[in-house]
Symmetry: C2
Subunit: 346 residues, 2 copies
DNA sequence: TTGAAAGCGCTAACAT
DNA sequence: ATGTTAGCGCTTTCAA
């Protein structure tokens, strides 16, 4: 039986020095090779790379970042990952940052201002090169941090308000107004509203405000409303719709604050054999991919998620590449209504 | 008109020294206050905190991590954010890590082994305290990195294979087998399969293998199959189902590799007035929340996403708290079939 | 083309 | 309870 050598080698992470010793070249030169900086002869380059690979060296970005005071991270702060909207924004951000040195790091706030403040603080303590943050509403402390961070900040999704620095989004107030106009124009008069129980979802709130504002100008009020939280949005949409119509059978239009509950309502109405959009019209918001597969296409409005992500990342990348760059930093995208099969066209 | 002072103060990030000077206390003591370490008198603590807040100081974790060689990051590496499965895993991870010092950092591989290798390298270069990575299949280089990183590694989702270190998941092969058994037991004989065009989705592959294995033992073969990529899964499920049934009307069961395409198929069959599960049975995989809102509930199997995330995070947290901890590090969860309304019970 | 020295901002370890 | 010193692993800067 063989005795195994008791080399209690606590796996110490490898350093540049290890590669330096293994290749017989100074740490500095190794560093240059690994970063493709400065002139290095092909001979040493080859030797260094061989040694690094052989050892399995992984550079220490912590040390690198401290020494160079360059951290190629972009903090991305969003309220949630669980509805399909923010992942798509992330996809847009990723698409653009992939062609750069920058790496996104995501923080989630659950729509809570204090959590946003905390997450922001945590992220800033890594000294990122830029911040992309959802919404224009932040705690005073959060705003102060963004203000004094000395890095590009892009507030996304919403443009109804004053940004700290740059912003990319749509006007949710306008989105609400336009939907109200389309609904009234189509001749609907008795309108119900369903949405999330989220006092802190400012974008949903603004859509609602824009919506009621236009109704009000036409002397119309929302006749019934219902809010939900948690659970399967599709199922909730179904339940709420049933409850509302049982309660208020005179309604001829249902406006949903998001497509998922709208889709649930649509499925319910179709099952009941109700004529959509003849007897009752429906509209949601977001233009989620899901809608493509439903028996009828729900009327909705695009939130421009991918585009917002891309533009925000482009602003950050451009500002970092050249701080004096002259690019548009206040971008308001203008989504069009998609009538689908649930809102009469007029 | 007042002349504004031209203090071209290039916003230099604040350091401990700034707080130290502002509060008249040594840097070390400031550091202690800010980390709640060691004994500090209430008087100085108060002064220091006031100064820090007043200045808007945000600690530099880069420097802190380098000095203490402690980086409270957990690298989480997943294939995708765009189907609902991984966000739910992240939620589970978050839930557990929120009660610790640890912070998850997410990397996405798009199901590409080379990209996984690259993402892993990038993340390891930040010297995280642990790694949670989806799947058991990695490039040789990736496996070597995980092996020699000297930190806890948890491979998640799948348990059909040999992990580098810890693993938490379900057996997808078994999931496929069990579904096949249930289908045969219910008396279905002519089976079609639909799935993604993803040769690199090993878990889908394993489910398929387990599925066909059991069918084979009963002398049954899959009679038709179809694969898709891109687009709305719900719409694709609808299209593929139509195409397949037009082509192979003798089929009496359709097995889908995920719930979304299964849901699309279900909606299509219901529209066609086909008797489900009498004439045709259906089953998907994942048990996504969406299913709750459909007119009928699709048969499926839970992927235990939340639980997997939680357990993985718990393993990391436990190992970091006490490297000699004696906890289970090979966890195979066993999901039960959910028959819903689309698979006959027998 | 290569190397040596200094220091990034913080914390461990040791004074006091 | 507070301060001092050294150094984390790398990059910047300057010298050779």
């Amino acid at each position: 039986m063989q005795v195994s050598p008791v080399t209690t080698e606590t796996k110490r992470p490898l350093t540049l020095r290890d590669v330096s010793e293994a290749s017989g070249v100074s740490e500095m030169t190794v560093s240059r090779v690994l970063r493709n900086r400065g002139d290095v002869s092909d001979a040493t380059r080859t030797r260094v790379l061989a040694a690094a690979k052989e050892l399995g060296y992984v550079p220490n970005k912590i040390a690198g970042a401290l020494a160079s005071s360059r951290v190629n991270l972009v903090a991305v702060i969003i309220p949630s990952l669980s509805n399909m909207v923010f992942p798509e924004v992330l996809t847009g951000i990723n698409q653009v940052l992939e062609d750069t040195e920058l790496q996104p790091v995501v923080g989630v706030t659950d729509y809570l201002p204090e959590k946003e403040e905390k997450v922001l603080y945590e992220m800033l303590s890594w000294r990122p090169s830029g911040v992309i943050i959802a919404g224009l509403e932040h705690t005073e402390a959060a705003r102060a941090m963004l203000d004094s961070a000395g890095i590009p900040v892009v507030e996304i999704m919403d443009t109804d308000g004053k940004p700290v620095d740059a912003m990319v989004g749509i006007s949710h107030r306008r989105a609400g107004r336009e939907m109200a106009q389309a609904i009234l124009k189509a001749g609907y008069q008795h309108i119900g509203f369903m949405g999330t129980k989220m006092p802190l979802d400012h974008r949903a709130r603004k859509r609602f405000e824009g919506f009621t504002e236009v109704l009000g100008k036409h002397g119309i009020e929302i006749e019934d409303r219902e809010f939900y939280s948690g659970g399967s949005a599709l199922a909730k949409g179904r339940e709420m719709t049933k409850a509302m119509l049982d309660r208020s059978p005179e309604l001829d239009f249902l406006y949903y604050s998001n497509d998922m509950i709208g889709a649930g309502g649509l499925l319910y109405l179709l099952e009941q054999g109700i004529d959509v959009p003849g007897q009752i019209g429906l509209a949601g918001f977001n233009n989620v991919e899901l809608l493509q597969g439903l028996p009828r296409k729900l009327a909705t409005m695009d939130a421009c998620r991918l585009e917002i992500g891309r533009k925000a990342a482009e602003i950050i990348a451009a500002q970092l590449a050249d701080p004096n760059t002259e690019i548009e930093t206040r971008i308001t995208l203008t989504p069009k209504i998609s009538y689908g099969d649930t809102l009469k066209r007029r």
